[in-house]
Symmetry: C2
Subunit: 650 residues, 2 copies
């Protein structure tokens, strides 16, 4: 059952595809909105909703965010952020996924909430008070603080027999997930950046020479001419078309990045056309709003404007025509290094500190100035969209920008190449975008704790419809280690997007860069991925088609099992298997909870070396580096492809 | 057996108290230095030493640093750093503790290495190559790169039957650890900062009113007059002497902070005397070197100069005379917000960016400029000490500064108040300082992973002689949560220093600031600490007197037990007990390895509620919030004090 309460006049998001009838009256402040069977009462507050949690209640959801599978004990904010740190005390990452499920100890005791609004929403899940869940809308600056009439959002309350059914019901509400092509389940290699076609050829060759399976190679920002979207570098990638063709012969798909910011440069056709047609976001005076991104001064296409969106999407044709069949959309929170206005202000302020005797207070103020330039909230209040015919300030629809940019591409693909399935994923997102593309989990770091975050984020993303997803294996920022790479690959072989990606200036982490013993382990694990693809792609497409979760916490599959409910570092994948990754350095095994009798398959690289029957309960299992253990449910079978493939077609 | 190899002319550190005879000849480059029984050969390289590790070897040590108990898989640098992030990819924290033990699977297969040099040392423990341990000296800039004659250090190789005996032998080499007074095992409350004596009284009163035990209250930088050492604020702490007396009546010890930087202000007696006598560090021209710290422009007392050190130590008398009997020395890496010279340079450079079109490269350069001001390596090369009659550039003895500052205080206490045992601990340290004081584990953050770091750092610090130690419970930086506070206290009750400390601007985390259910849990746990003090103080003093470790990894106590060797999140404490803390959010229990038959004592707060016999092996144990489980070894007993004490004397 889905109930819909519409407060005020919500800005439409197009997250939802079902037209659920609105409740006629919405309750006033301090009054009850709903009482769930055996659960808490949801009450309306001045700026949102409040409910009690019992000690045993688990809160699932929020898609892409920090912390565990159970989101209790922190305060999260839906505020799409260019956030390369991913520290456990952050509140927002790149996406806003306002869906949670509160699950009691009885399987039937659960309910889901979806807060549909493109503005900021705060979820205080037992942070201020241990037993209280408080959802608050953070008003855009200048909005009335009088919420009695101004709480503008759709609240959906979803109740089904079990958590899984509640999720399925929600997913039905927001529509079918994007299905990626099968080749996108191959292993991908990326780096910020491969600097030339020679380097691209070299990286591919080293994979093939070393028999490291590979299906895709990613082009980060340096393939472009001066970081201009839909261009290629005339010097370093002069043979771009030939490169795409040669790579295709090697069964490699090149996947270029597309950025949200368009270089403000006369003579650059994307810019000129956009200016001519008024397709860029405007400042308060109606001038194109100038921001700094990769190429320096840029403008932002108004992705929320239907016409501008169609126009921007058409530009992907340039690359489609060159034989490209996969893209990743980046910097679309949108990330702003600076705005023209802010930069000037900061330079002026810095001048004022020049001759001071900087003590604790003034020094910290001064240090923070530079940090305040990028992604400044004030800048998000300084430009405007033309959304459904209305001029609307960016901060009020901030969380939709990445969604609509990606939709721009996806809708264009349907027009331009209706018979092709193009790979598309985005950094920023909102629920609804899952119908158009996947996401990657952003700029994580080479931290063991970020491997755990990757594990814990999979089910919450699946809940919100994002099924084609994965994290940068090995870690994007900071220097990785060979053992972290091995362990991360050992989990990454299960995620739909399996990509090794790292940042400029960090240790090289292509598999062949490590000592030969480590390389062999990594290569063997990647080969196992290829054996798993039939099972994984099947589980993935089935989850997409049937509005289900491919990755699930044990508590969802075994809701009556108290021990299973508390497991935060094992996952069910598809209908047959469970995984239990090692995510701590120097561990040679780990404690595993077996929720029902299972068969453990132990692989050394791609080779199955042992089958063991395990009985329900807690157990400790040796898992040395280079070995992968997969737990198969009773009565189920894990179908494996033959070993030896070096790309998906094979 | 301890072997000593002296390379070149090492700068003395006074880390060692035994005079071990030097080997007559040291081996040339690429030659073997030593071959250990059943273990690897240590070879000399151009700039250090290299040895192989087998898969099963564990590397213990390095005192205060990031990552696990087993240090394999990362590269660490001894380079005392003001490091408030403590990320897992950092290489240095506040102390330099160049002692490691490589332990094979057979208990007899182990050896220890101590690299005694006050400069930078890099420990690449399987980072570059998985099976290689490489120790490299990083030369001070301008030193000859010709290491054949210039590797200036003492290498000590220590070999005994077991790891514990190797550690004990090393500890004999470096001398007995400082013993803190018993009251310093009471619970301490701190905050940057309690701003007035009224606030101090209020905080104490709230503890007493709520029956939260408390023995000490910490004064961070704001008790001073304009952050000047050895002054008290004439407005906010006008009644300082009376405050100390009143607190003493309440059985509360006030513990003020002392900073390394002395405000450069004429008329401030510490400054004037230092200038007059030439006691401050000088720049290359012999002028006092000006740096920015809390009060703005400061000078640094030359702690390495015997006379200056004695003089600075005498200043503690000002506070001793007011009844103070405990101190913490801070910012003594030394932390430099800026140097006069650098700040000028940065302001000039910022000017140059003002009119550029900042793209990816120039924008990042610009952003990094502000970050480059504090603790800049160039600044550490710009001032000089007078050490044992020699003018010596700071970077060559950098890692000794905190040690010698703290020694300055400790030596003064022996002269000024020979009959009193003064509490003293420091942020920065080098091995040798453990004879004079303890350390706290610096500016951690309210991260669950930092609770684990606290657990894992205890034994490595103990190895290096630092026995009076603990971390900021609840986390110093960032906002804590009630459950993190409860879990951190549940471990903190075992650490000699048990202090709740947090930074300006973060959530208040005094126990009474939380909801009443959480407060009761915290208060109960602190009460349990007081019941444990007889056992803990006994174990602590015994470890100090007998050169042993109070906190030990399981692998040291059960060296033949392969499972025990791999445990990274349980510790043996004293001779009777083991602990197994919960360090993940929303966990209600955890897997525990029981290395021998044990009795588990379950406490609800201070009250013993259950005794359970456990047999050797892996097991899962429920540990709900507010409960503490202590595991007692067979044939041992945990003596508990009666419940109810609210301060140590009681």
């Amino acid at each position: 059952m889905i109930r819909r309460f519409t407060f005020g006049n919500p800005i439409p998001t197009e997250a939802v595809v079902l037209n659920i009838e609105k409740r006629k009256a919405v309750p006033p402040i301090d009054e009850s909105i709903a009482v769930m069977d055996g659960m808490a009462e949801i009450k309306r507050t001045v700026n949102g909703f409040i409910m009690k949690m019992r000690d045993e209640d688990i809160v699932y959801g929020l898609g892409e965010n920090v912390r565990g599978i159970n989101k209790r004990g922190w305060v999260y904010e839906s505020n799409n952020s260019d956030e390369p740190k991913h520290e456990e005390t952050r509140k927002s990452l790149y996406g806003s996924h306002n869906f949670i499920v509160i699950a009691g100890e009885k399987p039937s005791e659960n309910y889901g909430l979806f807060i549909d609004t493109p503005g900021k929403v705060r979820f205080d899940i037992g942070y201020s008070k241990y037993d209280e869940l408080k959802i608050e809308v953070i008003p855009a600056d200048g909005d009335s603080e009088d919420y009695t009439s101004e709480l503008n959002l759709d609240l959906y309350i979803i109740e089904e027999d079990t958590v899984l059914k509640t999720v399925k019901s929600f997913r039905g509400l927001v529509g079918k997930s994007y299905i990626a092509p099968k080749w996108a389940f191959g292993y991908g290699q990326s780096r910020w950046s491969y600097m030339s076609s020679d380097e691209v050829r070299e990286v591919v060759k080293k994979h093939r020479d070393n028999h490291i399976p590979l299906d895709s190679l990613y082009l980060d920002i340096d393939y472009m001419d001066d970081f201009m979207d839909f261009t290629t570098n005339p010097d370093t990638f002069a043979d771009f078309k030939e490169l795409v063709e040669d790579m295709r012969k090697e069964h490699i798909h090149l996947v270029p990045i597309i950025d949200a910011g368009v270089k403000a440069k006369e003579g650059y056709k994307v810019y000129d056309e956009g200016v001519q047609n008024g397709y860029f976001c405007k400042d308060e005076n109606g001038e194109d709003f100038l921001v700094g991104v990769w190429p320096g001064k840029c403008v932002l296409p108004d992705m929320l404007n239907d016409e501008a969106r169609a126009w921007f999407g058409n530009w992907y044709k340039v690359l489609l025509d060159l034989g490209i069949d996969g893209f990743w959309n980046d910097m679309n929170e949108p990330a702003l290094f600076y705005s023209e206005k802010r930069l000037k202000k900061v330079f002026d302020e810095i001048g004022e500190y020049k001759n001071k005797n900087l003590d604790v207070n003034t020094f910290f103020e001064f240090s923070e100035l530079a940090g305040s330039i990028a992604n400044n909230p004030e800048d998000y209040k300084s430009f405007y969209h033309n959304y459904k015919g209305q001029k609307i300030r960016h901060d009020k629809v901030h969380n939709l920008f990445g969604y609509y940019m990606t939709r721009s591409a996806s809708e264009a693909f349907k027009r331009l190449v209706p018979d092709k399935n193009i790979l598309m994923y985005s950094r920023s997102s909102y629920i609804g975008m899952h119908r158009y593309a996947g996401i990657w989990q952003g700029d994580n770091r080479a931290f063991w704790s970020h491997l755990l975050m990757n594990i814990q984020m999979m089910p919450s993303l699946n809940m919100c419809g994002f099924l084609y997803t994965g994290a940068d294996l090995g870690g994007f920022g900071d220097d990785t280690t060979s053992d972290l790479m091995i362990r991360w690959l050992s989990f990454g072989i299960f995620t739909p997007l399996m990509r090794n990606h790292s940042a400029r200036g960090t240790r090289r982490q292509e598999v062949y860069q490590f000592d030969s013993k480590s390389m062999d382990m990594m290569s063997g694990i990647i080969s196992l991925r290829y054996r798993l693809i039939p099972y994984l792609y099947d589980a993935y497409t089935k989850a997409c088609e049937q509005d289900e979760m491919m990755f699930r916490p044990l508590g969802m599959d075994y809701p009556s099992d108290k021990d299973a409910r508390r497991v935060e570092d094992q996952l069910m994948i598809g209908d047959a298997i469970m995984v239990s990754p090692v995510y701590t350095q120097n561990a040679t095994g780990r404690s595993v909870y077996i929720p029902e009798n299972m068969t453990m398959l132990r692989f050394k690289g791609a080779e199955l070396v042992e089958e063991t029957s395990l009985t329900k309960g807690h157990t400790f299992i040796d898992m040395p580096l280079g070995e992968v253990c997969i737990f198969v449910r009773e009565g189920k079978e894990l179908k494996l492809a033959d070993a030896g493939a070096e790309y998906v077609e094979e």
